[in-house]
């Protein structure tokens, strides 16, 4: 009989494997999975003991089996895994109603961008394990002890792509309810539910007592079965050996309570043995759950932040979209992500709850760009993202590498759209925004839009997407062209909410197109839509008028208790000057003074003033570069130090960015830059602050910097040099071990791009090491790199 989770029966998993192996003499540092081949009887006897104690499911001895471990053991992965599953299966075969789980733990490496493991490689690592375990006849798959939600997502995708087995997934949490990688209980629940796990929960890390609040949160937020596998308390170390502080009695009492509260699957982790599980089995006799599973809620998340629609107004930031934004377009064409990241950070600071990300430009590879943007934005901002594209391929790529549960923008009522987009939403565990248009266009009546919304909802449900994961955008039309349409849109928002019970999203600002004083119309339309029950406007979070409208709405509707949010934001604004700025003094600064003093805002103002007298390039040559030279000299003579140098560089950069916007607008492209430099931290090295320092300084000297980031393979550097026609390559390495990677890179550059000049730098480098790796120059710091590149 196939393994099934039954609503009325608690399933008991086994206790620890490692603890049992240590009792049988396995040394620390030994490879437990090797025993599947060298001592199968020992493994079998452990399974037998757990079954005899009353467990329903045993975990095969495969927790740490992966390609790295197999290599270390000198065995193939498939033999380590299949032997383990076969042993566990044999133990089940002489008993009734017992099951063997393929047990998969974290792979030991950290995924990019925090670490160096690419997402696809992680999926492949887990896929190998799944194929071997499923092939050997595992009844189900247990993904356990994960601390990185992103790695767990990779593992879950691998399971779904390589088997049809039931899959249970658990993570380890700290006492504060977050994992080492910052994932919260709620984000785990949102993500795993949507990805199609059959059960989810917590294991390891803590004893049953410390897990109580975490299990409570799980039971409160999860609409699928919950699993709990605590340690036998907290470890006490004696002579390097771990001992656990919870008795079998106390353990079993806690498990009983968890089961009564609603945990359907229980078991033990570190420190537990068959004695613990025997008592658990005894205590669970006649115990039934008192739990009513909470209904699904409409929510999206990053690992550390979950947001739910319906409780309060959510702002979806619209600024990461190149349409109509020349500077962003230029940045994307140059593959420069800094601009995108800054805009993302700014919108978060302005109060956005979700960020819409659209990378659509006719002449760029949108799928690759959207994927890259998602990865990079998630490395600096913890807001959930709304993936925005009309290209299903771009949406699929981005949804796959997204860390958490994204909102996909969008699907519509057209058959083709439904067929292409909904499977992506289902497979990658997303929520989806449905636009109320179909092959006949946008219906002019609210009823017509409701009909399409209903159709989208029903088609989603047929694909296996719950209606809670479907949101609707009733589409705002331009009121100057179709005046009666605004009222229809507003009516549709209410109807979708009341008749379908779906959450709504609306891009508001189109409504005022073609009218004067657009902000007046925009904020009024927003207030009216909120009154119809709009859950989340897509808007510029920096738009004061709209923010004010939301703040006032929240007070008037009782969503801002004691108006405290409103008071904090707006008290004392009556007498305030038009805008809060960082300005400290009334006097104005020249550009060189502003740069020397490291004053960003002043540098911008001085630049604006200068623009009436000279062109952007003149300002760069006559004002910015000489100022930086003088600051640089002070740095080299140790009158000032790195923080001051960088502060000046940031001020110069602010001035530079303003000039670039003008250059982009006037269309004098980047042809006037001094040279193109590809800069990277070499493969194997993940420390890139040094490289980033050099980048900022050289940018200010009007070099075009093509930044490839950290841990960059030699081939990618060669590729970038060729693609951009770069004359210079700057390489950075922090550790002695990665200096060799520098050499490999330079060797390849010499072969593939002979004319290119290479400058190297980094903590351990010296002149002689630079010679050894074959570089043209060694720069001990950013200013030396400037000197090497020659004065202008």
């Amino acid at each position: 009989m196939a393994f099934r989770i039954n609503e009325h029966e608690t399933i008991i998993f086994d206790g620890a494997m490692g603890t049992m192996l240590q009792k049988r003499g396995l040394k620390r540092g030994g490879i437990p999975e090797l025993l599947n081949l060298t001592a199968p009887d020992i493994i079998r006897s452990i399974h037998d003991e757990y079954f005899d104690a009353g467990c329903d499911v045993v975990s095969a001895n495969t927790f740490g089996a992966n390609r790295y471990k197999a290599e270390k053991a000198g065995r193939s992965l498939s033999e380590l895994v299949s032997s383990a599953v076969e042993i566990a299966k044999k133990a089940t075969s002489c008993r009734k109603g017992k099951y063997a789980a393929l047990d998969i733990g974290p792979c030991g490496r950290v995924l990019q961008p925090t670490g160096d493991l690419p997402f696809e490689e992680a999926v492949e690592i887990f896929s190998e394990i799944v194929r071997a375990g499923a092939g050997a006849g595992a009844d189900l798959i247990l993904l356990e002890t994960f601390t990185d939600l992103y790695e767990l997502k990779a593992a879950l995708i691998a399971v779904k792509e390589n088997s049809d087995l039931p899959v249970l997934a658990t993570m380890s949490f700290e006492e504060n309810g977050t994992s080492f990688f910052g994932a919260t209980v709620e984000s785990m629940v949102l993500t795993l539910q949507a990805l199609g796990a059959d059960a989810l929960g917590v294991n390891c890390s803590l004893g049953p007592r410390q897990l109580v609040p975490i299990v409570e949160r799980l039971l409160l937020s999860s609409s699928i079965p919950v699993m709990v596998q605590p340690n036998a308390g907290l470890p006490i170390f004696e002579n390097g050996e771990a001992r656990y502080d919870v008795t079998t009695e106390e353990f079993a009492d806690h498990i009983k309570k968890f089961a009564e509260d609603g945990a359907l699957i229980v078991g033990g982790c570190c420190g537990t043995d068959p004695d613990y599980m025997r008592l658990v089995k005894e205590r669970l006799k006649g115990v039934t759950s008192r739990r009513h599973r909470p209904p699904l809620r409409t929510g999206v998340c990053s690992p550390s932040r979950s947001v739910f629609f319906g409780e309060d107004t959510l702002i979806i930031g619209e600024r990461l979209n190149p349409t109509g934004k020349k500077t962003l377009q230029a940045a994307l064409r140059a593959k420069d992500m800094d601009h995108v990241l800054k805009e993302a950070i700014r919108q978060q600071e302005q109060g956005a709850h979700i960020l819409d990300v659209n990378m659509g430009l006719p002449d760029i590879d949108e799928p690759e760009m959207l994927k890259k943007a998602v990865i990079e934005i998630q490395s600096v901002v913890d807001l959930p993202l709304q993936l925005d594209s009309s290209d299903p391929n771009a949406l699929e790529k981005a949804a796959r590498v997204y860390n958490g549960k994204p909102l996909i923008n969008s699907v519509n009522g057209k058959k083709e759209s439904l067929e292409k987009i909904l499977p992506i939403v289902k497979k990658y565990g997303a929520a989806v925004l449905g636009l109320t248009l179909d092959d006949e266009g946008i219906p002019s009546s609210a009823e017509g839009r409701l009909r399409i919304a209903r159709n989208i909802m029903e088609e989603a449900q047929k694909t296996g997407i719950p209606k809670e994961d479907v949101l609707i955008d009733c589409l705002v039309m331009t009121v100057s062209a179709q005046q009666e349409q605004a009222a229809e849109t507003l009516r549709a928002v209410r109807m979708v909410r009341e008749e379908l019970g779906l959450k709504t999203v609306l891009g508001v600002s189109n409504v005022s197109f073609g009218l004067p004083s657009r902000p007046i119309i925009n904020r009024t339309m927003l207030t009216m839509a909120l009154m119809q029950g709009l859950d989340a406007p897509i808007m510029n979070p920096g738009d004061e008028g709209m923010r004010e409208a939301i703040a006032a709405f929240r007070v008037l509707m009782g969503k801002d208790p004691q108006a405290s949010g409103f008071i904090a934001e707006y008290s004392g604004t009556d007498e305030k000057e038009p805008k809060k700025t960082e300005t400290v003094t009334g006097g104005s600064f020249s550009l060189p003074q502003a740069i020397k003093g490291g004053l960003k805002r002043e540098a911008e103002k001085a630049t604006e003033a200068l623009l009436s007298k000279m062109g952007p390039l003149k300002i760069i040559e006559r004002e910015i570069i000489p100022s930086l030279d003088s600051v640089g000299k002070e740095y080299e003579s140790q009158t000032i130090f790195l923080p001051q140098l960088m502060k000046s560089a940031e001020a110069a950069k602010a001035s530079f960015e303003l000039l670039r916007r003008i250059i982009a607008k006037e269309g004098q492209a980047g042809s006037e830059v001094r040279a193109k430099i590809v800069i990277a931290t070499v493969q194997g090295d993940i420390h890139d602050i040094g490289k980033n320092i050099v980048k900022v300084i050289l940018e200010n000297y009007n070099f075009r910097m093509i930044d490839l980031g950290k841990d960059v393979p030699p081939e990618r550097i060669v590729e970038a040099v060729k693609e951009h026609g770069a004359e210079i390559v700057g390489l950075s390495a922090l550790m002695t071990t990665t200096v060799s990677s520098m050499k490999t890179t330079i060797d390849l550059l010499r072969k593939e791009c002979p004319p290119v000049k290479v400058i190297v730098g980094g903590a351990v480098l010296t002149d002689s090491l630079a010679k050894y790796v074959g570089a043209d120059h060694y720069a001990k710091d950013a200013m030396e790199a400037v000197r090497i590149l020659g004065p202008k």
């Binding site: 910052g182 390097g240 800054k342 490395s379 602050i689 550790m735 071990t737 351990v764």
Partner: protein, 212 residues
């Protein structure tokens, strides 16, 4: 701090350091784990409980008289990494200070963990200097053995990249010998991987790590 000699430190920078250090303290969740093992110092390696060895002649020399050694792993957690990454896109001037503050903080956390080890020793036992992979001739890859012996992956979330760099970035793994005589605990510049390029050393001083 930040390579700035005391006489050239300004009030402005001092103030920013104070503020940014607070942000590091807020973003970090310091964790540490250690355990004491029986060891045997060989020629060019130290053998731990007959099951694995940490390589390095310098380390073996320091542990020459020791029968026991502590392995130690500490980290500020992944939140600090996120803050550092974010600051590098926002403002490099803050970023260099934050990075230095994070380095100082992990050093402090490691010192605290070391004090805890000291408290667990008997009065006759003393610690030798702290030795981290990458320092002297202890290969970086031996961090793997320290992490595995302490289950630091599972217990404090410390992992390695393919090139054996620690993740989270602001983390430390170390070996400390436990000796029955008092030995010099100062970090020795001649063993440091920065010895060729260190600006403190060039100025005739040292970075002061462990010179307390």
């Amino acid at each position: 701090m930040l390579g700035i000699p005391e006489e050239k430190m300004t009030a402005e920078i001092q103030g920013r350091i104070g503020e940014l250090y607070r942000r590091i303290r807020e973003a970090s969740v310091p964790r540490s784990v250690f355990a004491v093992f029986d060891i045997e110092a060989h020629d060019a390696e130290v053998l731990f409980e007959d099951s694995f060895s940490i390589r390095g002649r310098d380390l073996a020399n320091i542990c020459r008289d020791c029968k026991k050694a502590a392995l130690l792993a500490t980290t500020l957690g992944s939140g600090t990494d996120m803050l550092l990454r974010r600051s590098q896109t926002e403002d490099m001037s803050d970023a260099v200070i934050l990075d230095a503050c994070a380095s100082a903080e992990i050093e402090r956390v490691t010192d605290m963990a070391e004090s805890e080890i000291i408290r667990s020793l008997s009065p006759e036992e003393h610690l030798t200097m702290r030795f981290s992979p990458g320092y002297g001739d202890v290969p970086l890859e031996d961090s793997k053995k320290i992490i595995s012996a302490l289950s630091a992956d599972r217990r404090i979330g410390l992992k390695l990249t393919g090139a054996d760099m620690l993740v989270p970035m602001k983390s430390v793994t170390a070996v400390i010998g436990i000796s029955e005589r008092i030995t010099g605990r100062n970090k020795d510049c001649t063993l440091c991987f920065m010895r060729e390029s260190c600006t403190y050393k060039k100025r005739g001083g040292s970075c002061g790590i462990q010179n307390k």
